[in-house]
Amino acid sequence: MDAEPILKVADVTKKFGNLVAVNRASLEVNRGEIVGLIGPNGAGKTTLFNAISGLYRPEEGTVFFKGMNITNWLPHKICKLGMSRTFQVTRAFTHMTVEDTVRVGAYNRFNEKNVQDKVDQVIKVCELVDIRKRVCEDLGLASLRKVELARALATEPEMLLLDEAGAGLNATELATFMDLIKKLNQESQITFCVVEHVMQMVMGLCQRIVVLDSGEIIAAGTPNEISNNARVIEAYLGKRAVHARNQ
């Protein structure tokens, strides 16, 4: 692993009017890691993702990616630098076919002459061969999650932000999805930062977990450390749960 983290978020604050959605959040992700970002609903996870990926401009703080200060960069420039993402509520291009959707991502690195090879490769990796000619608006959630992943992979990212990619998947689909993420991490050396509510996916996938609550980072550590952290249990289940656990 490189000494310098691939992603460094320093004291990022994002407000919506008087509401502080993310408050001086800091985290680091090392190259090759799979890091989980968890927290109760409304904790600010997706807002933080949006601030990292350029959709939102943070009021304070800085975001460094590959050593470069990308705070306030436009999303397409961040994508060109090597970061891509998926969305909590799937945002595949509804009127385009699966193949064309993936192709839009592939244009990030490839031109018209050599884009097809990349599209074919990603479609195969994400097991979308059978539905490559179908229009996205006709697909179910599991397929849309794969299309979003394929589109993001086609941009050839060094880091991928997955926003609740496991939500709505059944046990089999989830297991397949997790295998794919592990494979991409190990074989393609893609770094992952994963926002997730599905604990099976967080615990089974992530080497490190960062916990966000009410816009603030309250804990960070290995899955085992996090599952025994009193502040995390309190954030998820309330003070009585911590008290009951200690008795």
Binding site: L55, H76, R85, M96, Y107, N111
Partner: protein, 287 residues
């Protein structure tokens, strides 16, 4: 009666193909950028004046003038986008409306100052004359313009579906945020979209100038016709745009044939209102 109706339908179909081309510019700007360009008809008016200026200066046929006016309008589109439209995208919708209506007034006033109020027409076109089929006459200039319009629309469909820029434009139309995060530069994509929309009016302007004159308020008619075609077709279907253009053309032509020529837009407006009332998505619209 039958002859009059048939002649009206033939003329309407030919004009309808040209209306579809004019509406195509409006359709891609509205459909991809969600920008309501109320000045679209005046872009056609400006294109017709440019066609007149180029045709007069170089003694060119009107239908050849888009070779010069299309790049000029493309440039005009890019400048207009960066100077005006881009600044309205993150504003309230009413700002966009005010800016495009202001642009409309500015263009009309500029045309009035530069070319004065009297109508302007080019003297000669190599496609003048008629084709006689039985009892029916087809103006060669309209037939030529309709064929060129349909070929261009087909070419545009290919561009949108098979090229990098076209796919980027469609992706931005579907979800701008997601497209940006996949590497699509939305500033460039929007500028290109607006520029293409503008240069389409140059082609349409050159074709229309082969059989029609222009004046500073000529854009009102083309603007309203474009909105009627777009409302009828809905967004996202180029074949739908052609069918809608033909319906509008035929209704306009039959109104002229059977009623007072001054009421030519009455039937078109009736369709416009009915469609917005009964089917706001249009006949072929996806959204």
């Amino acid at each position: 009666m039958f002859e009059t109706a048939t002649q009206g339908i033939i003329t309407g179909i030919l004009m309808g193909a040209i209306y579809a081309l004019i509406a195509l510019g409006l359709s891609i700007v509205f459909g991809i950028m969600n920008v309501t360009n109320f000045a679209h008809g005046d872009f056609v008016m400006l294109s017709m004046y440019l066609s007149f200026a180029v045709g007069s200066a170089l003694a060119w046929d009107a239908v050849a003038t888009p070779l010069i006016t299309a790049p000029l309008m493309f440039l005009f589109g890019i400048i207009t986008y960066y100077l005006l439209i881009d600044r309205t995208l993150r504003q309230m919708y009413v700002v966009q409306l005010a800016v495009t209506v202001g642009l409309q007034i500015l263009m009309r006033s500029a045309a009035l100052i530069i070319w004065q109020a009297q109508p302007r027409a080019l003297q000669y076109s190599f496609i003048q004359g008629n084709i006689q089929i039985g009892d029916f006459q087809i103006l060669t200039s309209r037939l030529f313009s309709a064929v060129v319009s349909l070929i261009f629309i087909a070419g545009m469909a290919y561009f949108m579906n098979k090229t990098w820029a076209g796919r980027a434009m469609r992706a931005a139309s579907d979800d701008l945020g997601a497209a940006s995060l996949m590497g699509v530069n939305y500033h460039k994509t929007y500028a290109l979209t607006f520029a293409i929309g503008s240069s389409i009016t140059a082609l349409a302007g050159g074709l229309v100038m082969s059989f029609q004159q222009t004046d500073p308020v000529g854009g009102i008619r083309f603007g309203l016709l474009s909105w009627a075609v777009l409302a009828l077709a809905g967004l996202g279907s180029l074949p739908g745009l052609i069918v809608a253009g033909i319906i509008v053309g035929v209704v306009e032509s039959l109104t002229v044939s059977f009623f007072d020529p001054r009421s030519r837009l009455l039937g078109v407006y009736a369709i416009f209102i009915l469609v917005l009332w009964l089917r706001p998505r249009g006949l072929f619209g996806r959204r």
